[in-house]
Symmetry: D3
Amino acid sequence: MFDKKRVDDVFGGIMADYKEKDRFINTVEICEQPNSDEVRTILLKLLELVFPGFYKDRFYHFNTLESRLNVLLEDVLYNLSKQIECAIMQSEEYKGSPCNSLEEKAQEICLEFLASFPKIRSYIETDVIATFDGDPAAFNYMEIILAYPGILAISSYRIAHELYNLNVPMIPRIMTEFAHSKTGIDINPGAKIDKYFFIDHGTGIVIGETTVIGKNVKIYQGVTLGALSTRGGQRLAGVKRHPTIEDNVTIYSGASILGGDTVIGHDAVIGGNSFITSSVEPYSRVSVKNVEHDIKSGIEKEISSGELNG
Amino acid sequence: MFDKKRVDDVFGGIMADYKEKDRFINTVEICEQPNSDEVRTILLKLLELVFPGFYKDRFYHFNTLESRLNVLLEDVLYNLSKQIECAIMQSEEYKGSPCNSLEEKAQEICLEFLASFPKIRSYIETDVIATFDGDPAAFNYMEIILAYPGILAISSYRIAHELYNLNVPMIPRIMTEFAHSKTGIDINPGAKIDKYFFIDHGTGIVIGETTVIGKNVKIYQGVTLGALSTRGGQRLAGVKRHPTIEDNVTIYSGASILGGDTVIGHDAVIGGNSFITSSVEPYSRVSVKNVEHDIKSGIEKEISSGELNG
Amino acid sequence: MFDKKRVDDVFGGIMADYKEKDRFINTVEICEQPNSDEVRTILLKLLELVFPGFYKDRFYHFNTLESRLNVLLEDVLYNLSKQIECAIMQSEEYKGSPCNSLEEKAQEICLEFLASFPKIRSYIETDVIATFDGDPAAFNYMEIILAYPGILAISSYRIAHELYNLNVPMIPRIMTEFAHSKTGIDINPGAKIDKYFFIDHGTGIVIGETTVIGKNVKIYQGVTLGALSTRGGQRLAGVKRHPTIEDNVTIYSGASILGGDTVIGHDAVIGGNSFITSSVEPYSRVSVKNVEHDIKSGIEKEISSGELNG
Amino acid sequence: MFDKKRVDDVFGGIMADYKEKDRFINTVEICEQPNSDEVRTILLKLLELVFPGFYKDRFYHFNTLESRLNVLLEDVLYNLSKQIECAIMQSEEYKGSPCNSLEEKAQEICLEFLASFPKIRSYIETDVIATFDGDPAAFNYMEIILAYPGILAISSYRIAHELYNLNVPMIPRIMTEFAHSKTGIDINPGAKIDKYFFIDHGTGIVIGETTVIGKNVKIYQGVTLGALSTRGGQRLAGVKRHPTIEDNVTIYSGASILGGDTVIGHDAVIGGNSFITSSVEPYSRVSVKNVEHDIKSGIEKEISSGELNG
Amino acid sequence: MFDKKRVDDVFGGIMADYKEKDRFINTVEICEQPNSDEVRTILLKLLELVFPGFYKDRFYHFNTLESRLNVLLEDVLYNLSKQIECAIMQSEEYKGSPCNSLEEKAQEICLEFLASFPKIRSYIETDVIATFDGDPAAFNYMEIILAYPGILAISSYRIAHELYNLNVPMIPRIMTEFAHSKTGIDINPGAKIDKYFFIDHGTGIVIGETTVIGKNVKIYQGVTLGALSTRGGQRLAGVKRHPTIEDNVTIYSGASILGGDTVIGHDAVIGGNSFITSSVEPYSRVSVKNVEHDIKSGIEKEISSGELNG
Amino acid sequence: MFDKKRVDDVFGGIMADYKEKDRFINTVEICEQPNSDEVRTILLKLLELVFPGFYKDRFYHFNTLESRLNVLLEDVLYNLSKQIECAIMQSEEYKGSPCNSLEEKAQEICLEFLASFPKIRSYIETDVIATFDGDPAAFNYMEIILAYPGILAISSYRIAHELYNLNVPMIPRIMTEFAHSKTGIDINPGAKIDKYFFIDHGTGIVIGETTVIGKNVKIYQGVTLGALSTRGGQRLAGVKRHPTIEDNVTIYSGASILGGDTVIGHDAVIGGNSFITSSVEPYSRVSVKNVEHDIKSGIEKEISSGELNG
């Protein structure tokens, strides 16, 4: 049906394109890399381990809950070690190491990660409590655990953050990007976030790699805790580029707070859609100015967003 | 390969963590709850019932469309009743009721819900028309029904809202969270939204539980119709915390409108990125002020966003 | 168990609703249309063809990479032609054409599309480079290609854009809506975007159909490049309704830039959460004003977002 | 890892083999043919239509059984017509016909087939009764319908036989080979089998294309109703090559009855492992002779299989 | 495309057929019954429990083998109890019992079944040994466990037999029919088979419900241990209708041994294709007579199958 | 619901059973072994490579057939090598070899196997021809290739046989057992079978490991080419235990021919259900004697099966 000559020309052109040697996009001899699907599967198992009573098959577990958790743990230990091995292989630190030592290192990292699992759970527990306290629409803890995107995003972050602390490349990011894709909430695994963190709705939230967040902070959808533009940014790798948010701060929807030296003082309230690139005092209220234009009288007046509670 | 002693220590620590009795995160004796996957499946069937001619297998249906709809309806009746039964079991009202009466109640609720289905369809119909009228890029109704995230979100909301009105817990929220995850549009099933509602693009939209929206309203991506911060919020359950938007209002991208007493008067236009916590008159235009800084001259001037059409 | 009489009444009411003849929502004699699932599958294959060395099964490809690409190409040629045929059948231009000529036309379009594939790849290559240069958190090109939502969205757009240029209806939109659903980034296939385009985080970005974007532009999450409200918008189909962004512009999170005559001059920087409906000079900096309210002293002062780098 | 030169040699050899032009095994321009998987799916739907009350989802069908059957019927009508069209395209009779007339013909055949469906069901009903009456181990009709391989094989045959009678090539055989693979019972769709047919156990049964079987016949596992060897057999196509079995005959396990002129008279009983190539009178008993050798005394005696009941 | 009138006629005819009330094939109000797919899944889990070291995931089980087995056991306990409940509901004994007592009874039966599991395993162990000893082509125990159809059939039988002994209807038969379909070996769950049972190849073997088999018996493919014909057989339910095979007997391929009073004495050897309906002494050899016809000389002579070893 | 004490007892008993150390059935430290599912997948790919024009996706292959075959070949090369490596690890010959040398050896074996692939195809081609010539019911070559169980069994055997010749353990057997399960035809991969081999129907056929079969042989269902009983058979490993069948022999259904010294001379015909343990002259006809008993007259007479054609 197709004109064979025409098809050959078109395909030939594409094939020639693949053969241009000096382009990274034509790289084919890539070394082994973590498998994204596998990492996502492991993350889901870890989330099940965080909330073991809330998942399926719980109706006949009087006997086997412990057995099931053991099976799940060892499954994670085995598979996550393998993924970590693939990931650290990529890092400068380990390039050229013999296989054995990589495998051992990966297992050691994985065990250290699991050793921190009770700590991870205790943090997430506070996030659930903060969510319930902060949302009058919440029915009970169960609804929050099963249906709130904020909890999915924070839990994934807390897991990924421990791996980030252990210098595992790529895997933490794959985990938080999975949560990002499901929830629209993008928390870089490098961020430091203290207990009782509450994200409401969440779509559009971005929390950058060097952000520091205190206890009892509350963030609404569309909030950015970001860097000032970082063109040629590879020079900035490792530098603190994102803000510090102290305890008890509330940040309303759509606010952007940028810069590594920007500190939002404790108990401050940042109004929606503010764009902040310098520090804010404790207990202050920041808001944007709107202008209301009366279409009939033609009069224009500034309106403030008034006293914001935190 | 792993050091068994080390593994036992790590696993032992995790197991001990699960055994701390006084933490809700270790709850294992949870009563039955709605199954999220099943609820999502039911929602997809309901969406197919909303637009029966637009789904697959339509090429040989001269005879069986009615049969297929009957099969689908009874499937929904049967499965949704079961999920409703699990859900109402959780509510204070029904705790301790005998099984029979719960089952009967669930069936009654489900039938009432289905009885409202023609009304649901008639509302969604107006939303499709409003979308087509409002978007010059739309090719035809079919494209809107099959590809527009706004229609997916609104249709899911309209279905969930009827269940919310019948006091079904959790299920409406699972439905709208499904649409939220797919589209980034988070409409609480409690909101009241009149006909001809048009959401463009939609990612990042949040519409809170006690919001009231009139006819012919148009909302762009990133808009929040929210509450002022509700720390310790469980005390506020049931109170009107979200704004009222009257007929023919247009709200541009990124605007946040907060508070239960805030009313946006009919035919008003809210400019992008405004942050509004008090009422706005009918027919008015609200916008933020920008400052333009000429990097060469060093001169700074305010720029308004001019006359916005609705 | 159910009361049959009641069920019959409810179902009868719904069935009657389907029979009201004059409502498009009851249309059942729709002509053939593109299959969304199939279109998504084709898009995934095209993405694999863009980055052939980065996908699975690459461990035994010394021999077969070329063979595999040929197989994939012909698969795409065959299946995409069929979808194009279904799509153009809908357009006024081809209505009533005999089947043969539609099939031939679809094949011709598909081959023209594939002929542009090397160009598509060369553009995407620059986007990956811009992303790596712009993000200090990026580990290497591989991480960007496999995990960054911005690259998924831009690549999908660049593919869809070529089909849009060939006047294929619906398919380009289904492709970009797929990326929208995964990433929260909504780029209309009609937009014109030059090389080295960098999207950071991306959730909530909207880029409208008639937008024009220059080289080396950088856009953060939540940015809208949109139209002023377009009620009764079908009259505006084809008109330039979205802004022009010149080379080297940076647009911070949450900014909205609207209108077909709005031009952001080269090397300008648009601060977060600005709402812009008129043109901006080259090299300028635009930002919103915030008001800081000291809750203890009661003093209120304007704060600017200072000097923004691009 | 592999030696590329060696691999190229080996692959080259295989590729060369594919290019030898005069071998049917290298045919690549085959015209369209029925899809085996699709045919098997249709067969399973037809079996569900034979026993509609015995399949799943029957718990909520007070309303929809009829609807469900209608949907299933139209599904079969649509899909089987398409497969028939592919099949008759192969036959000499239709080669070169225009597409339209093939499609119409296929639909006509399919409708004729469905018109015979009540007759098929009435025959299968008698087979279930005969099975229950003949097997003391049967628990009830339900167990027979759901678990007995004989019923699966006979039902598949009865369906395939009607298509065979309508001169549909290949499809009937694909259906009976499916049952053959599941049950080890190979009934050629061309065989003529009257009511009340009982197959016990069944593995290894072969019933050839021109076999004729009367009412109330009972056959055990391993029985062959076959042809004498048919080397150069294509000359024999259409000739009666397989035996005739009259009413009320019982054939024990492992018996082979061969030849187109061989008639087993009514009420005869054929003992296990007989090998019969000529006719047998009504009411007779046929059995093989065994020799018993007493290993201690060395004495050898013939033993008959005694009086066999039918 | 189809002629609607014709379709309606055909479908109408089929629908009318379903409405004839007095035919069991039109039964729709069937009570709950065991789910065949679920029973097969349980059988596969039980087989995994028989040979726990030979299945997948064994590479990381130093810790979790016991946990995994516990999980599997409880899964079986839970699901098999539910299937048993559905099955005993059908039996006369329990018809009309209240739900609670059925559930309790089913659980009791299931626990009794599991209590016999070590005995089941010890028997199957001897069957594997007998198979290895008897087959020079066997590579090792692992190959036998993983690849030999005889072991699959015997293991399934030994599991089903214990359920049969506990008077569970239908489920044992569904289990052995599953093995029958996979292997062509049909062992009725009622048969009594002692240790060290070896089935070679196996296709076509039938072992009836009241068969009794001693220790160390060896059976080849195509062997029937059956009943004499049992027309009107429901009168014979419960009667011993199948033979008794004593210790150390060998039965060659294709032999049929029928009748409840037929006893094959210990250490006897039954030659291939014999058809035996009366008892055979211990240590004897039974074989059929063949006739060799020299096609050139026209001479015909009887040939015996000589001395058979067991 | 269950009595926990009772469950613990039962489970405890089973767990104790697993801990008895000296039983092979409790082995858990098994070394790596071939993966049966993977081997079956490879076999299916090899069958596709035998008949490349007869499989799906052939409608758009004018360009890619060669590409597709290359991809398939390299897939097989890669995956089969890995399975061979697991298999030879088990054999005495390689136990304790270093990993590298095993991998190299496995690759070498795999390439040798593929080098014989054109020979395998040329043999299978003759089998298809013999089948078409021998079966008047065959419609064309395509039907035979797609639907005849005999061709599936022979092709699988011919592939497995080449691996057997290369001393690969376990894999050949897994391949032929797969075909056995699908077709009821059990051909040991060790058998030697010349060209133009025709199996009709096939269920119940067994062909033992040391069988030798000449050209142009035809075998019906239920035929055994086996060994005399081989209790304590591991001593006989490697000895010729199965018969030799010379050219042009026909063997009717149900015949058993046993013993390593048994030779069926060329052009002989073996009647159905014969049981043969000694050699047969060329051109002879062998058949069993039946006895016909006239139930009315009481007269009994021997009946021969007459002149059998081959």
